[in-house]
Assembly symmetry: C2
Homo-oligomer: 247 residues x 2
């Protein structure tokens, strides 16, 4: 009777250092993951093919399968390695607003360093140890404030949703700007590809048009724009925290 196959990579730890016979492994999961991250940073996640990563390590594609069951698992490992870059105190400080801000900004920073992160993170449900650590910290920031666990969970979910989508939007601009060659600042002022221009000129979507043309925050530095939306969100959460004096 065979073992039931592990449901995720996190239940299949790398083979440990042993002292039996047999050839020694020449690579490691971490090394392979790191290489994959570098390739993805430089050329996008679609360049992280098994052959490409292997050749980066000077070996053959099939060698990687001694360390990683499938390519999808490698994507999970990449996500978690990068989540490991997020630095947080051991415990929340007690100031929920600055704790959540910290998580938000750190996550955004990681997302900008690795433009593939957010797409991967939101397209596959994964729960690696580092992601869990960050999540636990965020939940902890709202603990002991009179909220029940469903509200805490719900608010942290909203925070994550905001951070992911705001960061994704930001990355979208950067990539669009790089593709068209313009520098981001000038590009955002003159703005918008031909398609959005067509939408605007059609006159059929007046509010969408205003959100494109009359936006104040669109001209802010990205970090301030991020902060602006974040503050709105935290204000919304704050309403439910009775012990909060600021509002």
């Amino acid at each position: 009777m065979p073992d039931e196959k592990p449901t995720s990579i996190w239940m299949l730890p790398e083979r440990q250092e042993r002292s039996g016979p047999g050839r020694r492994p020449g690579y490691s999961r971490e090394q392979i993951t790191q290489t994959a991250v570098q390739v993805a940073d430089a050329e996008g996640v679609e360049a992280t093919t098994m052959r490409r990563i292997a050749s980066e390590l000077g070996t053959g594609a099939m060698s990687l399968y001694r360390y990683v069951p499938k390519r999808d698992d490698l994507l999970d490992l990449m996500i978690d390695m990068v989540m490991g870059e997020i630095e947080l105190p051991d415990r929340p400080s007690g100031d929920w607003r600055s704790d959540l801000s910290l998580v938000a900004h750190q996550t955004r920073a990681a997302g900008l360093r690795h433009p593939w992160l957010i797409t991967l993170l939101t397209s596959r449900p994964t729960l690696g140890p580092h992601l869990l650590r960050v999540h636990e910290f965020a939940l902890g920031a709202l603990d002991r404030l009179g909220l029940d666990i469903d509200d805490i969970s719900s608010f942290v979910g909203m925070l994550n949703d905001y951070v992911y989508s705001a960061t994704r939007r930001e990355i979208g601009w950067l990539e669009e700007a790089r593709r068209t060659g313009l520098d981001p600042e000038r590009w955002k002022r003159d703005y918008i590809g031909p398609y959005v221009r067509q939408i605007v000129e059609s006159g059929a979507y007046p509010l969408f048009t205003r959100s494109v043309l009359e936006s104040r925050t669109a001209h802010l530095p990205p970090a301030e724009r991020f902060q602006y939306g974040l503050d709105r969100l935290l204000d919304g959460i704050g309403v439910h925290i009775t012990s909060d004096i600021s509002r």
Copy 2:
């Protein structure tokens, strides 16, 4: 000097009915898109290959390229066709809360009918006419309430983020339940695959554990659970609407 190539499928309308010489087209963009949607509904988006769709129509793969430039464009067309199922009044009613609720529930319903929709929608930036229509309606719901356009845009963004991620979570349960063969209700009570169980038993993530084990809303019918989070979000938006009397 060639035309600059269109930036999106929406700038490349289907060839119109003409009256010149040449063979008549045997298919149409809409017909192909509809077939793709059916295949995706039945077997997932990864089954919507060009060959599969073509053979469903009784033709060869390459014929599709007379109607759609690339497979990615077909994905955009699928998204927008399904967004077209969302039924909304011509103009918002004036009750912002019920207007946004309507958008939220309609979008969730479309996402549940077509489990691939949310993944596609959040993994590729697309702005088809039907998506624009829905977005414009949502923006309109918050117009004339004393908010500036950045806040309106920001709140609608938060609403979308919530709807997408809540619906995605719900779909995840359904698929997990289908995969393991259990019916959704029982499965959600007994809950959780072996990996989450291991996390819980590790004791290292007490708040995550509580969010799994002590949740009240987890046992609610999905629609009520959705409503619960939605109400929290709308409460948060309501704070910023001064003319709102309910809070």
